[in-house]
């Protein structure tokens, strides 16, 4: 449906579909609680839906409406929700990995320094594993665990 709207010019800019891959993220996100965080890529519509953002809010955002989850200011690639702990859709390949690592780092910091608790999941594709930032974050995650 999104693809049809895009081809008819009702949706504009970039629209990246997640068709056929929904099972992977849905499985993971089912195991998370509301306070756990998800960081995504530009294929973030399904992640937002799975985490609990209403279908109406996601669709409105795709059409650039003020009723969208980011008031039409983020768009297809930048879905954020503070309530559901979606820390963004990111456009650049690998951009979300360090941000997710930072959110996970915060869980550890909160546990050790502030004595509070929570988890983070980052989604990205296999091509992203070519990206330098991915390895930098693997290294630092092991270093600071």
């Amino acid at each position: 449906m999104c693809a049809q709207m895009y081809y008819r010019g009702k949706m504009f800019g970039f629209v990246h579909l997640y068709n056929g891959q929904e099972a992977v993220s849905t499985g993971f996100i089912k195991l998370l609680t509301k306070s756990d965080s998800v960081v995504s890529t530009y294929c973030d519509h399904v992640h937002a839906l799975s985490k609990g953002v209403s279908a109406r809010a996601v669709m409105s955002e795709l059409f650039g409406k003020v009723t969208g989850c980011c008031r039409g200011q983020g768009g297809s690639m930048h879905m954020f929700s503070k309530e559901h702990n979606i820390l963004g859709g990111f456009a650049f390949i690998g951009e979300g990995i360090p941000v997710a690592t930072g959110a996970a780092f915060t869980s550890k910091y909160k546990r050790e320094v502030l004595k509070q608790d929570c988890d983070t999941v980052a989604f990205f594709g296999d091509g992203t594993c070519n990206n330098g930032q991915f390895y930098e974050c693997l290294n630092m995650a092991a270093l600071y665990k």
Partner: protein, 369 residues
């Protein structure tokens, strides 16, 4: 003289003379308190260190991250003693992976912490600029205000001494052009303390541009500035020296040069007003324009490359808002339009010197060609 200004202001629909008077009066009060407390001195390095220390002590969500900030006590010793005092859970030595640790800092800020990320120099921030701009600066807008990013990116900026082209660039103009970022550039120890504390407390991403050559310089510091609750407002410039013939605006190390230039100009009967910008974004256009409306002449100085620089923005602002008050073309003194050379004599030629500022001010006052 105030009468003439008052009439001119009314005729041109500009700022009232009384508001100009009160602005000048308040800046002379601050100049008095600066000099009056002159008995204590502090280096910029100690000012920065004490600011980070006090903010970490006041708020357990503040932590420090960067290369050599912990065990080595900081590449320039700005974070000296912090690892011993707060432990490895709050002072993180990172591998040499700017993109990675900057992104981690931003992610931590999204999730509610207050990172102070150090770049060994801002030249290395280019490896992480995607996170500074796309992940930090733009997120508050893209999320329609849901995500706040209370992060500070700090480190030395601009030329040092003989460090060559890839270690000498000034990033003020680049970062100040981005909506969503705040960009600060301290000069004195008081600036360093007040602005860094304000930056750490600020809910938005702040780029804090220090200067390596200023770290060891001592400045008089008031009792008020030494208090742990001391904070300077972001977006407000400081009039370092009052004058009536020409306005010189600048930031960071060039403030010292501008003050020396003002001394030389005073010997020749030209009274220069020196404005220390302190905040590059938001830029204090009101103070700059009020000063130019008083002096009618502008000389704007920076170390960075000339094209699309901070000086260019100030000239545009003055031409847009105070055109009818100008008695001379606006003068812009910037670094040379060339990658920074290594040889000491060439480096000196590539950066603004006191003589260049004096010459430009005299040109604006029609005392030379």
């Amino acid at each position: 003289m105030w009468g003439i200004l008052g009439r001119r202001a009314v005729v041109n629909g500009g700022i009232s003379a009384s508001s100009l008077r009160s602005r000048v009066r308040s800046s002379s009060v601050s100049a008095r308190s600066y000099a009056a407390a002159g008995s204590k001195e502090m280096t910029v390095r100690d000012a920065l260190n004490s600011a980070i220390d006090e903010e970490m002590s006041a708020d357990p969500k503040v932590f420090v991250m960067g290369e050599e900030v912990g065990q080595y006590q900081g590449a320039y010793k700005i974070t000296k003693g912090l690892l011993e005092k707060y432990g490895p859970e709050r002072v993180y030595d990172t591998p040499i992976t700017e993109a990675g640790f900057t992104g981690i800092g931003v992610g931590a800020a999204y999730a509610g912490l207050k990172p102070v990320v150090e770049f060994m120099t801002f030249n290395f921030s280019m490896q992480a600029i995607d996170h500074i701009i796309n992940s930090a600066a733009k997120s508050n807008y893209m999320s329609a205000g849901q995500i706040n990013v209370p992060i500070v990116f700090r480190g030395p900026n601009g030329a040092a001494a003989g460090v060559g082209a890839q270690h000498s660039q000034c990033y003020a103009a680049w970062y100040a052009s981005v909506p969503g970022l705040k960009v600060l550039a301290p000069y004195s120890a008081e600036d360093a303390r007040g602005l860094l504390k304000a930056a750490i407390r600020d809910p938005d991403p702040v780029v804090f541009l220090e200067n390596e050559l200023l770290y060891g310089e001592s400045f008089p510091i008031s009792e008020e500035a030494l208090d742990s609750s001391f904070c300077l407002p972001i977006g407000k410039a400081k009039i370092e020296r009052e004058g009536k013939d020409v306005t010189i605006t600048t930031f960071s190390k060039m403030v010292g040069f501008a003050l020396k230039a003002a001394e030389k100009l005073a010997e020749e009967g030209i009274s220069a007003e020196v404005i220390n910008l302190r905040s590059i974004r938001p830029l204090d256009r009101a103070t700059i324009n009020a000063s130019v409306r008083k002096t009618s002449r502008l000389v704007t100085v920076e170390e960075g490359f000339p094209q699309h620089g901070v000086c260019a923005e100030i000239c545009a602002s003055v031409v847009e808002e105070s055109f009818s008050y100008l008695d001379a073309p606006v003068e812009r003194i910037a670094g040379a339009d060339v990658p920074m050379p290594y040889a000491a004599n060439l480096e000196r030629l590539a950066l603004p010197q006191v003589e260049d500022i004096v010459r430009a001010a005299k040109r604006a006052c029609f005392r030379s060609k």
